[in-house]
Structures are given as structure tokens and as C-alpha cells.
């Protein structure tokens, strides 16, 4: 495995469990996300993939186990604190500001980078103006990167689903995250949109060196782009390794296809 300069993965999830009442959504799941890699978390419906992502980004707090980010324990942080640490995410059901333009939506991703001064901002003067220009320039780089120049000024709600997903990725990138969490980035897309999205994920990883953890339903897509695959089933981890190994793992085949293999 690619170890980091200081010898530790960027994110270590160490035996976490999440319960909803009597339901054990996650049962002592551990995984490492090494710096600079793309790690995919896959599994059938209800396997606990999104719960895991929500636990990492601070929406849920585990009843046991630890989450270590960048060498420090981050188990009990709130979502905004996690975001401030450099973790950005996208959602399974697109969560854009519907009435706002693509540009403004991505701009909101810069929020944590802005040091607002109410008066100066209102006057658009001095440092406020300089800051606004810098952020806009950064957002334009993302727009260029994601090839969405043509929809810069279009309200998010008027975009087809595939593009909304791309804009959401753009907003996450605007936060310049160290770790990018993608929740089913390819859900509901057609083949061409999926291929585009794969390309963007690989490019983000390569261009910005962003570490990526993604949850995905579609196994074939994941195998092509990830360095490592973690498989969940009924809240437990059943496999963890390079795609080729995981693909051949009988436990994984069972989970996906039922137990009828010869």
C-alpha cells in the first residue's frame, strides 16, 4: 500500500459501529484510505455504505470505534468541523441550491475559505473585492476543469441529472478538500454520463492529488477506477483489497449474486 510520508493513511476508520434503534447499520467496520488513492466502498442495497460515509463526515456518531483523520482522532466532530478539516462530499440525491446558478452553487463551496467582513462585503470594496475575485478565479478553474462553461449561468434546477451531479462535484472541489467523499456519483446516469464521471474522478485524483472515497452501487464502474475496493454487506466488511482480488472473492460474489454459485 502507498503509505504516507508520516507513515499513516489519511483516513483510518477503526472498528466503528452505528446503530439505528435495534438495527445495526454498521458493525465494527474498519478501513484505511491512504493518501492520494481512490478507495471504493461497494455493497448491495442497505449494506451500510451511505451510513459509513455519513459517519466519516460527522452526520452520525458511532457507538464504538474511532475515526482518525490526518493522524488525529476525529470521531465526535460535527459536520461543519469535519468540513473545515478538509473533507468535502457529494450526496446520493443531488443537494444543490435549485434556484441558484451553477456558478453561485460552486461558489458556496468556497464558503469556508472566505473571511467575511459584513461591511466590506456589502460595499464590495478593498479586501472584500480582492477576495471575491480570487474565489471567482478558483471557481472558474473548476468550471473549466469540469467542462461546464456552457451552463455557468444556468439555474441548477434546469439542468439534467447528470450535469447536476457534476456541479455537485464542482462544489465539493471548491472547498479544496484533502479527502473527497462521493456518495453514488454515478447513480441514475446513462453509460456516457458514467464514463464522463469516471474520467472526472480520475482527473481530480491526478490533477489535484485529492484522496477520494466513493460509495458506489455499480460494481463494474468501480473496478476500473479505484485503487482499492471495500465491500460491505449487512453492515459488515466482507472484503477489502485491490479490485482484481475483490472481484474474484467468493464472499463478494455471494453478496451480489445470491449464494447459488457452483
Amino acid at each position: 500500500m502507498n503509505e504516507t510520508p508520516n507513515g499513516r493513511p489519511l483516513l483510518e476508520v477503526d472498528g466503528i459501529s452505528v446503530h439505528f434503534g435495534a438495527v445495526e447499520a454498521l458493525d465494527r467496520v474498519s478501513l484505511d484510505v491512504p493518501r492520494g488513492e481512490i478507495v471504493a466502498i461497494i455493497g448491495p442495497n442497505g449494506a451500510g455504505k451511505t451510513t459509513l460515509l455519513n459517519a466519516i463526515s460527522g452526520f452520525y456518531h458511532p457507538v464504538e470505534g474511532r475515526i482518525v483523520f490526518d493522524g488525529a482522532d476525529r470521531t465526535y466532530l460535527r459536520p461543519y468541523q469535519v468540513a473545515a478539516l478538509g473533507v468535502a462530499r457529494t450526496f446520493q440525491n443531488v443537494a444543490l441550491f435549485k434556484g441558484m446558478s451553477v456558478l453561485d452553487n460552486i461558489m458556496t463551496g468556497r464558503l469556508l475559505k472566505m473571511n467575511g467582513n459584513f461591511l466590506l462585503d456589502a460595499l464590495y470594496w478593498g479586501p472584500a473585492r480582492r477576495q471575491e475575485l480570487e474565489h471567482r478565479a478558483f471557481v472558474e478553474r473548476i468550471i473549466d476543469f469540469l467542462e461546464i462553461q456552457a451552463i455557468r449561468k444556468t439555474p441548477a434546477s434546469r439542468l439534467p441529472y447528470g450535469l447536476q451531479k457534476r456541479v455537485e462535484l464542482g462544489r465539493a472541489l471548491a472547498a479544496e478538500p484533502q479527502l473527497l467523499l462521493l456518495d453514488e456519483p454515478m447513480a441514475g446516469m446513462n453509460v456516457e454520463e458514467k464514463e464522463d464521471m469516471c474520467r472526472f474522478i480520475l482527473d481530480v485524483n491526478e490533477e489535484f492529488g485529492t484522496t477520494i472515497a466513493l460509495v458506489e452501487h455499480d460494481m463494474s464502474v468501480v473496478m476500473d477506477i479505484s485503487d482499492r475496493v471495500v465491500v460491505l454487506d449487512y453492515g459488515r466488511k466482507i472484503a477489502d483489497g485491490p479490485p482484481q482480488e475483490v472481484r474474484a472473492d467468493p464472499a463478494v460474489i455471494d453478496a451480489y449474486l445470491g449464494v447459488a454459485h457452483a
Binding site: A137, E140, I143, D144, Q149, R199, D203, E206
Partner: protein
């Protein structure tokens, strides 16, 4: 007007020499702009020269020799135009390729032209060329402009334009005058570019055009049309097409005007609005697209606005129609026009980014009269021109104030036209190409004693205007001897906003039939308004409601044929809407969207058979090629509809 046979002076006989002069005489004037990161970035003529110089020196450092060829592939980008100029400065030849070509097509041209260097836009092109390179003995270096997604590649033959320019800087330390010396060695007769024409039949042919061909053609046209150094053009058509080369490279350099590169292919119409060009070129397809967009948007407007727009557009078109036919315009219409300008034409042209246009062209195919009249009615000076790669892009242009519906204007200065006994247009000019690269056989057939056989049937009318009927080999007859001009019919069909492509069949057959492609955007929009659900193109195309819609269009075309005695026997009697869109990837149409009849006749033989039988539907399977070269199958059941022939009414 220029004197015939004017030669070029030695100091100004190649494009690199001209760019150098521009850089000296107007160093701070904007030569080219590109919209990048949402902002228009401008480069002056001094930048143009300096950037090209560094690219050229970098290529020299990599071993570029005189006569070498460099493929140029990508959307219109300043860096790619500079690369053309850099190549030419070193005595090399630029070979622009269509950016949407698939690997196989690129492979053919790169092998055929023995291309050593390829300068491409981005990873998409690099991916294709990496495959091509594996099998190509000639291709040595692949150079890209946009490094995105390419940093991980470690191949030594793959590098960015920036790295090449760095090499150039180092090379210049030891060879400070190398670039200038090489420019000095260039001459008018050197091959400047090889333009591979997509060709409606067989393998593409590479037309060799010299600096002299292009400079004289560009200059003659610019002078006749009164182009100045303050023009603004939008470079958005493929660089591989001779038209873009003439407008965005040759004329820009010759006259010193500014070229604007859009942000991405998807933003062209928006960028058009921001730039507001003064000089604009579009093939009929684009004019049609803009018109369709306008019409769709008008339908979405409030009732009053819609009525107002329709009323005034109608006034404008009535006036323009009469003007084109040289008929008097009634006074009341003339009085209404200024009001229409205030309320409709002005705001509309402004919104389209066409308000500043002094000069606009359409060519490549015949334009639907209704489209032509629409834009001219808005006060946009659209003119038809005629040209081909072999003539350096231009042959004839309509003069200002002498524009007609059915001609392609009068010959350029220094260009002679003759009509052969078989009715084929032949021409001779300083722009006539040097021949097809490595294809003496084809050259012999096309080029005779300096005269080019255009392959188009046409004639010169009594006012000296050239009229083109069709491709000489496409004008044909039905089984009973009735004259049948398929393209003429197809163009009439394609004027319908609902139809995107049409292929008419009838040579040696008892009657005329047609394959149609609906316009997915327009018909899809129409279907949505009527709550007609559909899943895909194939599904929508076969809806009975859509056939009803299209039927009216076919009847309209048949009715318009009644006006012409000679052609009224060639009415469309049966048609079908194809289950898939004709696509250059499937080789059904060329990259410039010309129908490849032979190929279609072969591929769709069962459909044609069905059109001449009594059946009313036919099952088909078709192979489609995806952008990445993979193939898949589409199966569908296609309906066939009959059309009642119309007879001319005895008296109206």
C-alpha cells in the same frame, strides 16, 4: 480590384513572413482571443509571433526539418493556430485533422501524409493518437496544449506545448536567428497545408495548398469584399476545413484582423453574442440551427409578444423576398420596417450577437430559401458563396446589393469559370491547388492544364452569376426519364425545423422516395408540448403523431415542386423516418454533413426495397459506432407512409 496574375513580392509571400510584418507594424493590436476561465484573453500580433516562434524553435529542437508534416487536431485554439504558423515557419506543412475523427480515420491520414509531429488540444486527442502511434511508422511526437489528465504519462514522445516552448527558449540561446532564417527561406510555392477532404466517396484526398494559393485567394476575396483590419470573426468551425483556414488564419493574417476562439463548442452561440462579430461565416446547418432555436424560444413567449414577433418577421420576409426577386416593395411595408426594427429585428439580432455583422456568408450546401430570407430580412447581410478545398476555399461570392436566392454569385478577381460540354463547372485561378498529395491519379482526373473539374453541375446565367444545380453525378432521372435532383429535394425537406436530414432516392426507379431524420430537439420539444412520451430517438421517430407532423412537411415540399414544370414529376411518393440519426461515425454522412449516397444505398438496401414494394413497415437492424470506436446494434420496426401526388391546378 486587382490586376490579374499579380505575383507576390518575396518579402510577403508566406504566412510566417506576414505574421512577422504584422508583429512589427501593429505589435499591440489584438490578433487572437480565447475565452478561458470565463474571461476573454487577448493576444496581440507581437504575442502571436512570439508564441509561434517559441513553438517553432521547440519543434526545431526536437528535430523538425523542412518539408516535415505536423498534424493539428483540436477545437479552435490560439495555440493550434500558432502551431500552424510555427510549422510553416520551419518550412513544414500543417495537416489539420477533424477533431471528431475516430482513430481509424486519423490513422489513415497520419500514415498517408507521413506526419512526424502531432500538436493536439487535449487528452481526448492524445488517447486516440497513442493508439495511432503504435501502428504508425512516421509519428514521432505527440504534443498537447491542455495537460489535464496527462501528467501521469511518462512517455518521452508525449509532451506539453509549454515544454516544447521551454525547449524552444533553450534552443534559441545557441541559435538566436534560427527561426527568422528559416522564415526567410520560405517561398510562395511551398506547400502551406494539406487539407484532407472528407470525401463523399472512398478514402480522403489531401489537397496541397501553397502559401501563394492561400495568400492570393484570401487577399482577392478580402479586397473585393472590403475587409479591413478591424474585423472581428469567431473561429468555431473545424480547423481541418479549408473555410476556417481561409477566414480564421489566412485572411486574419493578410488583413490583420482579430480572431476569437470560443470557450467550448457548447458555448459558441453565447460567445457569439459576447463578441458580436463583424464578419461571420456559417454553413446552412448552423443558420438553420439558430433559426430553429429562435422559433422555439418565440413559441415559449407570451401571447402578445409571439403575435408581434410573427407579424414583424412576416413583414421583413415579404420585403426581402420581393427585393431578392427585384420586385417593388409596397409603401406600407416599407413604412412598417423601421417599427419592426425597433420592436423586433434590432433586439433579436442583438440577442443573437449579429447586430454588428457587416458581412456574413453561407456555403457548403444550398441554403433553404426560407432560412436565407429570414436572416436577410432581419437586416443581416448574408450572402452565398461557392468554393471548395481545391480552389483554396473560394470560387465565387455574391456582391453586396446583388444577392439572389438561387445563385452563388460572380467569380473572384483573377478567377475564370468555364462550363464543360457535360455541364460541369470548371475554373482556373491563382488559388488552384498543387494537386492531391501522393495521389497522381486523382490529381490527373481533377486538374487539367491548370483547370479544375469541380464535379458540380451548373451554369452561368445572363447576369454572369454562377448557378449550381447539384453534384454533376447526382443529377439523375427516374425510370420514365423524369429529371430528378435529389439534393434539391433534400434541401427543401431540410428547411423544415422538424427535419434534420433527408436522403431522396429515385435514380432509375418508378418514383421518388425519401429517408428522413427528425430533429430531436425540435420534435422532442413539440412532443413534450403535446404530452407525447418517448424514450429515445428511435422511439420518437416511429410515433404515428410524428409521422403526421412530418407528412405535412413532405406535402409542403411536393406542393412547392408544382411551381416548376421540369421538377413537378419528381414528387415524393413514399417516405420513412429512419430509426437512427445519420452519423459521420457510421460513415453515412461526411464530417461536413454531406450525404454519402452510395454508402447509404448499400447499407439500407432492405429499406429501399421496402419503399418500392407494397409493405407499410419494415424491420431493420443497424450497426452504430460510438465515439470511442466501439460498435453496437439497434433493432427497430420502421413505418412507411405513402403521399398522394399533387397535380397542378389548372387555374388559380
Amino acid at each position: 480590384m486587382s490586376a490579374p496574375g499579380r505575383a507576390l513580392v518575396r518579402e510577403r509571400d508566406t504566412f510566417p513572413k506576414l505574421v512577422r510584418i504584422n508583429a512589427e507594424q501593429m505589435p499591440t493590436k489584438v490578433a487572437i482571443r480565447e475565452k478561458d476561465f470565463g474571461i476573454w484573453q487577448s493576444y496581440t500580433w507581437r504575442d502571436y509571433y512570439e508564441q509561434s516562434r517559441l513553438i517553432g524553435l521547440g519543434l526545431a529542437a526536437l528535430g523538425f526539418a523542412r518539408g516535415d508534416k505536423a498534424a493539428i487536431i483540436g477545437d479552435n485554439r490560439p495555440q493550434l493556430y500558432w502551431s500552424v504558423m510555427a510549422t510553416q515557419a520551419l518550412g513544414g506543412v500543417a495537416v489539420p485533422l477533424y477533431q471528431d475523427s475516430i482513430e481509424k480515420e486519423m490513422q489513415f491520414i497520419i500514415d498517408h501524409a507521413e506526419v512526424r509531429f502531432a500538436v493536439v488540444e487535449d487528452q481526448e486527442q492524445v488517447d486516440k493518437l497513442l493508439h495511432v502511434k503504435r501502428q504508425s511508422p512516421h509519428l514521432e511526437y505527440v504534443i498537447y496544449d491542455d495537460p489535464r489528465g496527462l501528467r501521469a504519462h511518462g512517455e518521452p514522445f508525449l509532451m506539453s506545448l509549454e515544454q516544447v516552448q521551454e525547449l524552444g527558449k533553450k534552443f534559441a540561446l545557441d541559435n538566436p536567428t534560427y527561426f527568422e532564417d528559416e522564415i526567410g527561406r520560405g517561398a510562395a510555392d511551398d506547400v502551406a497545408i494539406i487539407c484532407y477532404t472528407s470525401g463523399t466517396t472512398g478514402q480522403p484526398k489531401g489537397s496541397m495548398l501553397s502559401h501563394g494559393n492561400l495568400i492570393l485567394t484570401a487577399r482577392n476575396a478580402a479586397e473585393r469584399e472590403g475587409l479591413g483590419s478591424d474585423e472581428e470573426v469567431l473561429a468555431y468551425l473545424p480547423m481541418a476545413w479549408v473555410g476556417d483556414h481561409i477566414f480564421s488564419y489566412c485572411q486574419s493574417i493578410v488583413k490583420g484582423f482579430a480572431v476569437n476562439c470560443p470557450e467550448s463548442p457548447a458555448t459558441v452561440l453565447h460567445d457569439l453574442k459576447e463578441i458580436g462579430p463583424t464578419y461571420f461565416f456559417a454553413p446552412p446547418r448552423i443558420w438553420e440551427n439558430i433559426l430553429t432555436n429562435v422559433m422555439i424560444r418565440i413559441e415559449d413567449a407570451a401571447w402578445l409578444k409571439r403575435k408581434l414577433v410573427h407579424f414583424f418577421l412576416d413583414v421583413a420576409q415579404q420585403i426581402e423576398r420581393r427585393r431578392l426577386l427585384r420586385q417593388p416593395v409596397p409603401l406600407w411595408r416599407r413604412l412598417l420596417y423601421p417599427l419592426g426594427w425597433l420592436l423586433v429585428y434590432g433586439p433579436l439580432t442583438d440577442n443573437l450577437g449579429m447586430r454588428r455583422i457587416r458581412l456574413a456568408y453561407t456555403a457548403g450546401e444550398a441554403i433553404g430559401p426560407e432560412i436565407f430570407v429570414f436572416f436577410r430580412g432581419l437586416g443581416i447581410n448574408v450572402k452565398q458563396l461557392y468554393g471548395m478545398t481545391e480552389s483554396s476555399g473560394l470560387i465565387s461570392i455574391q456582391n453586396d446589393g446583388d444577392v439572389r436566392l438561387d445563385t452563388v454569385g460572380t467569380p473572384l478577381p483573377d478567377l475564370e469559370i468555364r462550363i464543360s460540354e457535360g455541364g460541369e463547372v470548371r475554373y482556373r485561378s491563382p488559388g488552384v491547388f498543387l494537386g492531391y498529395y501522393k495521389n497522381p491519379e486523382a490529381t490527373r482526373q481533377t486538374l487539367e492544364d491548370g483547370w479544375v473539374n469541380s464535379g458540380d453541375a451548373g451554369f452561368i446565367d445572363h447576369d454572369g452569376h454562377l448557378k449550381i444545380i447539384d453534384r454533376a453525378k447526382d443529377v439523375s432521372r427516374l425510370a420514365d426519364g423524369t429529371i430528378f435532383a435529389p439534393k434539391y429535394l433534400e434541401n427543401k425537406l431540410k428547411f423544415s425545423p422538424f427535419l434534420k436530414e433527408a436522403v431522396c432516392i429515385g435514380q432509375g426507379k418508378p418514383y421518388v422516395t425519401a429517408f428522413l431524420n427528425i430533429d430531436l430537439a425540435a420534435v422532442g420539444n413539440w412532443a413534450e408540448r403535446r404530452n407525447i412520451a418517448y424514450t429515445s430517438y428511435t422511439d420518437l421517430a416511429q410515433k404515428p403523431e410524428v409521422y403526421d407532423l412530418v407528412h405535412q412537411e413532405v406535402v409542403r415540399v411536393n406542393r412547392s415542386l408544382l411551381e416548376d414544370e421540369m421538377l413537378c414529376g419528381a414528387q415524393i411518393r413514399k417516405y420513412l423516418i429512419l430509426h437512427k440519426e445519420l452519423d459521420p461515425d457510421d460513415q453515412e454522412i461526411t464530417r461536413t454533413r454531406k450525404v454519402r449516397r452510395g454508402f447509404i444505398a448499400q447499407k439500407y438496401a432492405p429499406l429501399i426495397e421496402a419503399l418500392y414494394s407494397t409493405t407499410d413497415h419494415v424491420g431493420v437492424e443497424a450497426q452504430v459506432t460510438y465515439e470511442d470506436g466501439r460498435t453496437g446494434m439497434i433493432r427497430a420496426d420502421v413505418r412507411i407512409r405513402e403521399v398522394e401526388p399533387l397535380t397542378p391546378e389548372p387555374a388559380r
